[in-house]
Amino acid sequence: MLLMVISLVYNKVLFTALIVAGIVFYAIAALHVYQLVSNFQNNILPMFEALSSIRMNYRIESINITQVNDGKIEVLVKAVINITWDKEVPVKGPVLEISWMNNTIGRIEIKSLDEPFMNQPLTMRFLVGKQDIGEQVYLTAIIDTDIGVIKLVQPIANLSTILSQTGIAIEDIRVVRHQNIDYLVFSITSSKNTVKLPIRIVLLDRNKDVLLEKYCEDFYVDPSSKYEVSIDVTDIDLDNVKYIKIMVYDAQIALFQLGG
């Protein structure tokens, strides 16, 4: 009797509607939990597992340096990048960005982590003013996932270090006497790069003190042509010359040691 009275008094439809609405919201929550968990299992965890074993190496193919107008120099670096990791998973990989003076100058995108990223070319172009030569080059790794973004920024080199990779060499060093003046004569070569900009050639003694400097406005070397230098060395003792340094702006791009 009592039970009958109760069931008649409260609105069953309203009660049921409230409970059903509650269950619907619970179900939506459960769906979101399911999505999050499966995302973690299928994408996030495998991705980080692969990334934890990532190795990267690069080989510089060529560095071409030319002077452009307004006194700036343009440095074009062509590199070949190899990136490998242990576990191959079919998820999107990180993006690597090379930046310099707040500009992105090179970008590598690993589209999928299911095959190693081998022998990928990367071209970086620097436009360098006189005061920028010591600026750092940064490598940024951007790991973009559904749960968030991680960005790691690390300085990798400064520009003068990169310039010193040009691999220029000197050869045929000799002293030539012409009209009572002694000249130190040698040629500068480059086996794979083009360097075309004014440089300074500096002769140094064993303590790396400057003995003599020569400014070469029309300097140009490439794999097929070499640059002949002759320096008037009448005023200095040639035996003291221990090093020849080649400079761009204030940065050393090559240093050669002479004799024993």
Partner: protein, 173 residues
Amino acid sequence: MIYETKPLTAKELSKTISLGIVKGLVYYSIYYIVLFRLVIYYIIPYLIQASGLEGIDISSLVSLELVNIRIILIFIVLSIIGTFLVRHVPYGRALDSLIGLLMLYIVLTIFNFGRSEGYISEYNLYYHVDLSPLFQSILIIIAFITLGHVFISVGREYRGRKTQETRKIHIDQ
């Protein structure tokens, strides 16, 4: 369950306030201490280390204030309001769970939804970690659970109150 709205007497109100303080401290330890620690000491280091950096002591980079008076006070005030709703206001239980949601939102806002950045001198490395999508989806999940709970608790309270009234009428007769 008996749905009873307590009278606003001094005795009942002081009971409400002390219950609110205890609840606030419990919420604080769950949300602030546990969740915060989980993120700072486990999730962020895990992600940074998984990105190829080993042996970073994250606790040296992020300092965690275990006792943050301002947050504790916010939590206690909100809990007292919540307990007041539960004990003195009809259907207040449902509103109270919405206050719990607000607390979670406050905690997530305090640590910027998992956005952090810093510098690790050992590796000469700057990092920016933005885990806001993760925390947004956690917030959405908890918001849906809370809403579900609100509807079900309103429904049950509605039935319970009607039943009690009916039973009362029946006994009175």
